[in-house]
Amino acid sequence: MISEYLLVLISIVSLLTNVSVQVVVFRCFPRLGLLKSEYFGFCAGLSSLFTISLKEFTAISLLNLIMYFSLSYCYFNFVNLGETARRVRILRELCDSVQGLSLQELLSRYNAKEIVERRIERLLNNGQIIFSNDRFYIGAPLMLWIAKIIMVMKLVILGRRYLDTVYQRNKDRDV
């Protein structure tokens, strides 16, 4: 009976393994970087899934594997949200000041220049873009492929083109 329910909850147990290993690896080896610690966590969770549930490959194993991939994807995004999300950063800035912040004060602490600088640094470090002759060029095409997939999904589901907002805002500003 217990083992039957364990089989149902194994993907959640594996996710907990993933989270714990990721946190411990990052705390013990911060130089490794956040992304690599996430890979370690993911592999640890996957091995626990294989150890408990995949002794023989059945439909339930495939089901648990899909569940583990989905939950790990959510966790990966949660970690990245704390790292890159603008809304989280704005909330943190407001959390740090009890009196609240005016728009000007907020922009002096967190602004477009910082957002762009941080992302340029990340993209350059990952080799996704190259800086040469004072200009940026596309390096490894992984981010470009992700961007293209999202562009297609946005067009199919929302019926909107990517960067529509960018072009519209810049047009409004020019007017």
Partner: protein
């Protein structure tokens, strides 16, 4: 096999329903609407499945058996739904990183100058809309010219503060 089959079927149906609704009208609060569509589809479909399996032996033979399998079906469906919603948030708002990558790619062999990039990515595009989003989602409010956190906003911020402290990480963004 039945859990996998019905999980994918119900998820496919929910996605189809969401797609049709979005083609007619895109809701204002999209994540909330997505949760409503997916959860109501799950509840309706499993109720139909349960009632049919009581009345028809043919359906009983291909439907999940007992509480454990239905429980598994629910967890499976919720995992898929959460992964989809996480992915969907990337469609709602243009990511600065992807916007930069596309802008650079659009320039091709000529490349993009840093100054051009900074002009393209202004506060009006990157920060102010996010502040407006936080106000409309009741995370922050404006009082006497100052933005302050609501209870929800404070709770949300503290989840990330706790997690980043756990990892010894500085402020992100």
């Amino acid at each position: 096999m039945t859990v996998l089959f019905w999980g994918l079927m119900i998820f496919g149906l929910s996605f189809l329903l969401h797609f049709i609704i979005w083609k007619i009208h895109i809701p204002q609060k999209q994540t909330k609407a997505l949760l409503e569509v997916f959860f109501s589809s799950l509840i309706v479909c499993t109720a139909i499945l349960l009632i049919s399996s009581f009345n028809y032996s043919r359906v009983r033979s291909i439907s999940p058996a007992g509480f454990r399998e239905y429980f598994h079906l629910y967890i499976f469906f919720i995992s898929l739904m959460l992964a989809y919603i996480v992915n969907y948030s990337a469609l709602e708002v243009d990511s600065p990183t992807l916007t930069m990558v596309i802008s650079i790619a659009n320039k091709g062999k000529n490349g993009l100058d840093k100054q051009e990039l900074l002009v393209l990515m202004s506060d009006g595009l990157l920060v102010k809309p996010r502040i407006d989003d936080l106000v409309s989602s009741n995370m922050i409010y404006l009082e006497e010219g100052k933005y302050k956190l609501t209870r929800n906003g404070s709770l949300f911020a503290h989840i990330f503060i706790f997690y980043r402290k756990l990892l010894n990480l500085p402020k992100g963004g």
